[in-house]
């Protein structure tokens, strides 16, 4: 008789049950839904919005199958895509720009499954349709600007301190000053060593060459890394804000590598519009308040961003724009009130100095400039009401404060209200503009029809491949083939379950990986069965042959699978999106197939032959 401990059955059954449990959410089809959020991201959706939505949709004679308030959004589900589209148009017409309406597919996972972490597989962009952008942050330009700023700060400092220098220049992001006398050199060195002109506290590398009286200064490696991190993080934050405006249900905005940002927008088709919003330039303008007697031609009336304050007239001349702001943070003034500290680069500082010189006591306004789009209802040529989108530029005053002294690169705005309001202003000053320019380096758009086609073709090839292998194994190995087929089927269930549980993304190459796994997974069984045949031929009795066949084949199977796993892991490391999906399904497939083909098949064979006294084994 063969020994096969009972606990192993329990392990196999437990693993299989878990696999089935977590694969289960994929059987519940996702339902078309719309997701509604307020355009103003500071407002979260509430019961009143929910009621409005319900009323508006009821007018259209369509039924909402479920409506919920979820993470500041309202999600309404419908039984058909037609209803979903009708509801979307109706809501957009009724509420126009007050809300963002996004189409989405809402999983219908039952609550009890969701509560234990069950969720359906996430589909990659190649299956769901949508856009993938890869943006590169131009850190070099940002660094160049900083170095320019540095050169100008030192020039100014030397002028005020009466230090004479022969020449100043920038090469390879390094500022260098050449001095006339060693006296000037010493004084300058002193300034370099003690006076940090760096507002952000970056570190410097200083090169002293006293014999030829030259001083060179550049940002240290750490400072450059900090600068890059800062620029990328800043842009990431700005991008997140912008992507939220697009009304996409599950956007991805992520840093990739040192200076790249990935943006993925499932379901978005109009790439041109998406690109415009992502690449748009929100900006700031600093302008003086117009004198009350200024001519109408030289001033403009602007609204405050905070409607409570009404409007104010500002001069038409722009002193400085927001991209000159190198940093903004909050602090407290002498009497403990919140203030915002602003740092401009040198060019901005000079312009600010010129403008405020002789204008102390007047008020300086900060304007927030935003490119926005507006929806209006218009009639088309057939007399139907359609929504037309027009883009326009909106400028609002975010702050108006009295100039206390001539301003330069560093100044502060006081009277900005509570510390919280101050930090919001600082954020706007920082986040309004991008910290460094960005460009699109990769873009992939997949239309919805192609996504659907990819799923259908992929699923079909899995089914056909699977059936052919099952038929072959059943035909060639008979009863043992049946055991292998049960193992293969459980393998598919386990792959689905594990991928769903891990929240892994299924892509078309991922499906190809599953197909490949189906073909290769039977290898373990083939190895075992060939071995059993040999052992039988060698004259062993059936039970002994089964026992030895399994144990001898194990080492081979293990070695062979580990090497495939190595290849899969390397593929994961070098691959991009869809290819990573292939590596993931291949790796999971290898591991689950070892489990099902060895443990699973062994258990089934044991159930079939274990307790019987067999004379002859057909294999």
């Amino acid at each position: 008789m063969n020994k096969f401990p009972t606990w192993r059955y329990f392990v196999i059954i437990a693993v299989l049950m878990l696999g089935i449990l977590y694969a289960l959410p994929n059987l519940y089809p996702a339902q078309p839904a719309i997701q509604v959020a307020y355009t103003d991201s500071s407002k979260s959706a509430d019961q009143s919005l929910l009621n409005t939505i319900r009323e508006e949709i009821a007018k259209q004679d369509i039924e909402i199958s479920e409506i919920n308030l979820k993470n500041n959004n309202i999600v309404a589900q419908f039984s058909s895509v037609e209803d979903q589209l009708i509801a979307k148009t109706a809501l957009q017409k009724a509420l126009l720009d007050r809300v963002i309406v996004a189409l989405k597919l809402e999983p219908t996972t039952p609550d009890w499954l969701a509560s234990i972490g069950g969720r359906p597989l996430k589909l990659g962009l190649d299956l769901s349709g949508g856009v993938h952008f890869l943006l590169e942050v131009d850190v070099e330009t940002a660094l160049g600007d900083k170095v320019d700023g540095l050169l100008n700060s030192y020039r100014k400092k030397f002028r005020t301190e009466n230090i004479n220098y022969i020449s100043s220049s920038i090469s390879d992001d390094q500022v260098s000053f050449k001095f006339k006398s060693s006296e000037d050199y010493e004084k300058a060195l002193d300034i370099f060593l003690t006076d940090t002109l760096t507002p952000t506290g970056f570190q410097f590398d200083l090169v002293e060459q006293s014999n030829i009286s030259t001083l060179k200064v550049s940002y240290s490696e750490i400072a450059i890394k900090e600068l890059r991190d800062y620029a990328v993080k800043q842009n990431l934050m700005t991008l997140r804000n912008r992507v939220n405006e697009l009304g996409v249900s599950e956007p991805v905005v992520q840093r990739q590598g040192a200076n790249r940002i990935v943006v993925e927008l499932p379901g978005v088709q109009d790439t041109a519009a998406a690109k415009k919003i992502i690449g748009k330039t929100a900006n700031l303008e600093f302008r003086l308040e117009a004198k009350s007697n200024a001519s109408r031609l030289r001033k403009t009336e602007f609204d405050y961003k905070d409607e409570r304050y009404g409007t104010a007239f500002l001069e038409n001349d722009v002193i400085v724009t927001g991209d000159r702001v190198t940093n903004a943070n909050t602090g407290f003034d002498e009497s403990g009130f919140a203030q915002v500290n602003i740092t401009l680069d040198m060019q901005g500082g000079r312009a600010m100095q010129r403008a405020t010189n002789g204008n102390v006591g007047r008020r300086l306004g900060v304007l927030f400039v935003e490119q926005k789009s507006k929806s209006t209802l218009v009639e088309d040529e057939f007399g139907n009401e359609v929504i037309e989108q027009t883009s326009y530029i909106e400028k609002n005053i975010i702050n108006l404060a009295t100039v206390q002294a001539v301003l330069g690169t560093n100044f502060r705005i006081t009277g900005v209200g509570s510390p919280q309001e101050a930090s919001e202003l600082a954020l706007l000053l920082r986040a309004g503009a991008l910290a460094a320019p960005m460009k699109f380096v990769e873009e992939r758009t997949v239309g919805p029809s192609l996504g659907k086609e990819n799923i259908e073709l992929g699923m079909r090839s899995v089914m056909i491949g699977f059936l052919m292998v099952i038929l072959f194994m059943g035909f060639y190995y008979r009863l043992f083939g049946l055991a292998a087929n049960v193992a293969l089927t459980s393998n598919l269930v386990l792959i689905t379950g594990i991928m769903s549980l891990l929240g892994a993304t299924l892509t078309l190459p991922g499906i190809a990986g599953i197909v490949l796994t189906v073909g290769m997974a039977v290898d373990a069984n083939v190895l075992i069965f060939s071995r059993i045949r040999e052992e039988l031929k060698g004259g062993k009795n059936p039970h002994q042959a089964i026992q030895d066949g399994f144990s001898r084949a194990f080492v081979t199977i293990f070695d062979a699978n580990i090497t495939t796993l190595i290849a899969a892991l390397i593929l994961y490391a070098i691959g991009t999106g869809p290819i990573k999906g292939f590596a993931v399904t291949l790796s999971i497939g290898i591991i689950t197939s070892m489990f099902t083909a060895i443990m699973g098949t062994r258990a089934i064979v044991q159930l079939m032959y274990g307790s019987r006294n067999i004379q002859e084994l057909k294999i």
Partner: protein, 302 residues
């Protein structure tokens, strides 16, 4: 069944050498026809309701100042694929072309637009090549650690043989080589190694138990013992790959083609390349003298 594999060893090696040298020659003279992932550029796929005249589309494009483009059918006569070679950094080319064609009576459904910037393309090339080398290196280490360096050399020679010949075929027939084919190539490495390990494992086992036979006979015996497994596994893998090739659509065709060739060549190389290396390195009983214990520790497993 008892086939004297080693008798055909010289013929097999001659064929392999011809294929190998031919592949290297083609890769260096003709090069690979790099897909968008590696070459960089823009690709637009549009589906029409009726088949359209590609020549007219070419006309529209060249009339509007586009150069260096390819217009081909993709999968069916209704699908049109337009590829434009590297235009440094212009990411909106795809949108422009789709709008241009739509306004010139070529209104269809946009299936996809892909843009890969020049620097991304070259990075992916470097990464891909590096990944390949790292994979080969790590596998060499693993096999050397688990078996013996002669087996490792045999296995890696077989892998190199497979990879070069697949690349050569892609070069000779000018099939598109993109990221998915690279993925297929790495999967082939895994698969071919599978075969080599099964064969090596058996050779090692027989060297220990069948001390009376000479090394050539031993290898022959081992190959015959593993033959049915080798054939069946290749068959089931090929079954699913053909399913993928015929029913999986255009998107996975290059991938499945690479793998189909890989499985065929991988199976062959595990029969001849590994064994030839072992024979020419004079694999002997002494190489197996150090008793391996790893077999023993697993004996209790099912």
């Amino acid at each position: 069944m008892n086939i004297n594999f080693m008798r055909f060893r010289k013929i097999a090696i001659t064929i392999s050498l011809i294929l190998f040298v031919g592949s290297i020659g083609s890769i260096f003279t003709k090069g690979l026809s790099l897909g968008l992932d590696f070459s960089g550029g823009t690709l637009v796929e549009i589906q029409y309701e009726d088949s359209v005249d590609l020549q007219e589309i070419r006309g529209v494009l060249s009339d509007n100042g586009y150069e260096d483009f390819q217009v081909v059918n993709f999968g069916s006569s209704l699908d049109v694929l337009i590829k434009i070679a590297d235009q440094p950094g212009n990411s909106s080319l795809g949108d422009q072309i789709f709008t241009l064609l739509s306004s010139n009576d070529f209104e269809g459904e946009l299936k996809r637009i892909e843009f890969v910037g020049p620097q991304i393309g070259s990075e992916l090339r470097d990464q891909g090549g590096l990944g390949m080398l790292v994979a080969l290196g790590m596998i060499l280490l693993y096999v050397a650690f688990r078996f013996q360096y002669k087996f490792a050399l045999g296995a890696v020679a077989a892998l190199g043989h497979d990879v070069v010949i697949i690349l050569g075929l892609f070069s000779i027939f000018a099939w598109d080589f993109d990221l998915s084919v690279l993925a297929a190539l790495l999967a082939v490495i895994g698969y071919s190694l599978n075969d080599s390990i099964v064969v090596s494992d058996r050779i090692r086992e027989n060297f220990r138990s069948e001390r009376a036979l000479g090394s050539e006979d031993l290898i022959n015996l081992s190959l015959n013992q593993t033959l049915s497994r080798t054939v069946i596994t290749s068959l089931t893998t090929l079954l699913v790959l053909f399913a993928l090739f015929f029913f999986g659509g255009e998107a996975v065709r290059g991938f499945s083609l690479g793998l189909i060739i890989g499985v065929l060549i991988g199976t062959y190389s595990s029969l001849y390349i590994v064994t030839t290396i072992l024979i020419s390195l004079n694999l002997s009983q002494e190489d197996m003298a150090v008793p391996d214990v790893e077999g023993a520790e697993f004996d209790d497993m099912p």
